[in-house]
């Protein structure tokens, strides 16, 4: 039996998986839209509590990491293994920075007593409570995806190193990068909706 390989098929599979992820977050965005519509004033007040600077910093981090992930494909196509490793490595490092940033952001909130189920939160207006509920749930789910993305990219790095991903067969890197762009894509919407629209 000849080696069966279908790169377009693999990427198609990844894209379809990305669709499901988009709709997963899509459900949350729908909930956000409904409650924002219902409690616009409360959302307004609550959004002021978020640190737009940290949010912007994380946006920049993710955009850069997305670019390096995309460039790593170019590198591998050109047969430049070393550069590809570096670029994927930078992507993972950026992801790590994002998490550190998020850690401080969440830590600060929790320190202030704003976390799901906290007494302070339960005393707030219902809309604010929902805003913070959504904030933690959406960014939490996003962080989960960041971590999954980091694991995938680490596997990809190992495979580049062992040259099972090479200039002739790099669909795995493409799919890993696709997943990483999805993480970026979601953040592109999370950032203005949570941090900016005050």
């Amino acid at each position: 039996m000849e080696e069966h390989r279908d790169d377009i098929g693999s990427r198609m599979g990844m894209w379809i998986f990305i669709f499901t992820e988009l709709l997963l977050f899509g459900g949350l965005f729908l909930v956000y839209a409904i409650y924002r519509n219902k409690y616009s004033a409360d959302f307004h007040t609550a959004a002021h509590e978020l640190n737009a600077f940290l949010g912007a910093l994380n946006t920049v981090i993710l955009l850069v990491s997305s670019a390096t992930a995309a460039m790593s494909i170019t590198a591998i196509q050109k047969g430049n293994k070393k550069l590809a490793l570096w670029l994927v490595g930078i992507t993972i490092f950026m992801a790590f920075l994002f998490l550190v940033n998020k850690y401080f952001e969440w830590g600060h909130k929790i320190h202030l007593g704003i976390y799901p189920g906290s007494e302070l939160l339960l005393k707030m207006e219902q809309g604010e409570l929902l805003f913070f509920g959504l904030y933690y749930f959406m960014t939490g789910l996003h962080v989960f995806h960041i971590i999954v993305g980091m694991i995938i990219l680490t596997v990809v790095m190992v495979k580049i190193n062992s040259e099972s991903i090479n200039s002739h067969n790099f669909v795995l890197l493409e799919n890993g990068a696709l997943y990483w762009h999805l993480v970026d894509l979601i953040w592109i919407f999370l950032f203005p909706l949570l941090y900016l629209i005050t």
Partner: protein
């Protein structure tokens, strides 16, 4: 069936990726500035439109949708249409209560 071999002809140059990155960073800057202006109801619209543009750029270049076979584009379009309709139809309830 279609081409089972990896297409070698779509190597996106590094410079394109860097240009795209600069564009995205610029748009991020624009969003932050515009939302800081307190344009009222427009803020949401502007922020969302810019987010959509950024998303479109990521999908087109970073995710290489530009170089994929057309079926990928139909699928992306279909999914986005579906999601838009779901939102619109749900608001048929909330907007008219």
């Amino acid at each position: 069936m279609e081409n089972h071999k990896q297409q070698q002809d779509h190597i996106t140059p590094y410079s394109t990726m860097l240009k795209v990155l600069v564009g995205l960073l610029f748009l991020t800057f624009v969003t932050i500035t515009v939302t800081g202006l307190h344009l009222g109801a427009f803020t949401v619209a502007v922020a969302l439109i810019i987010a959509c543009v950024k998303g479109g750029i990521v999908i087109t270049w970073f995710m290489h949708l530009k170089n994929e076979t057309p079926i990928f584009r139909y699928m992306v379009f279909g999914v986005l249409l579906l999601y838009t309709l779901i939102i619109v139809i749900t608001f048929f309830d909330y907007a008219f209560r």
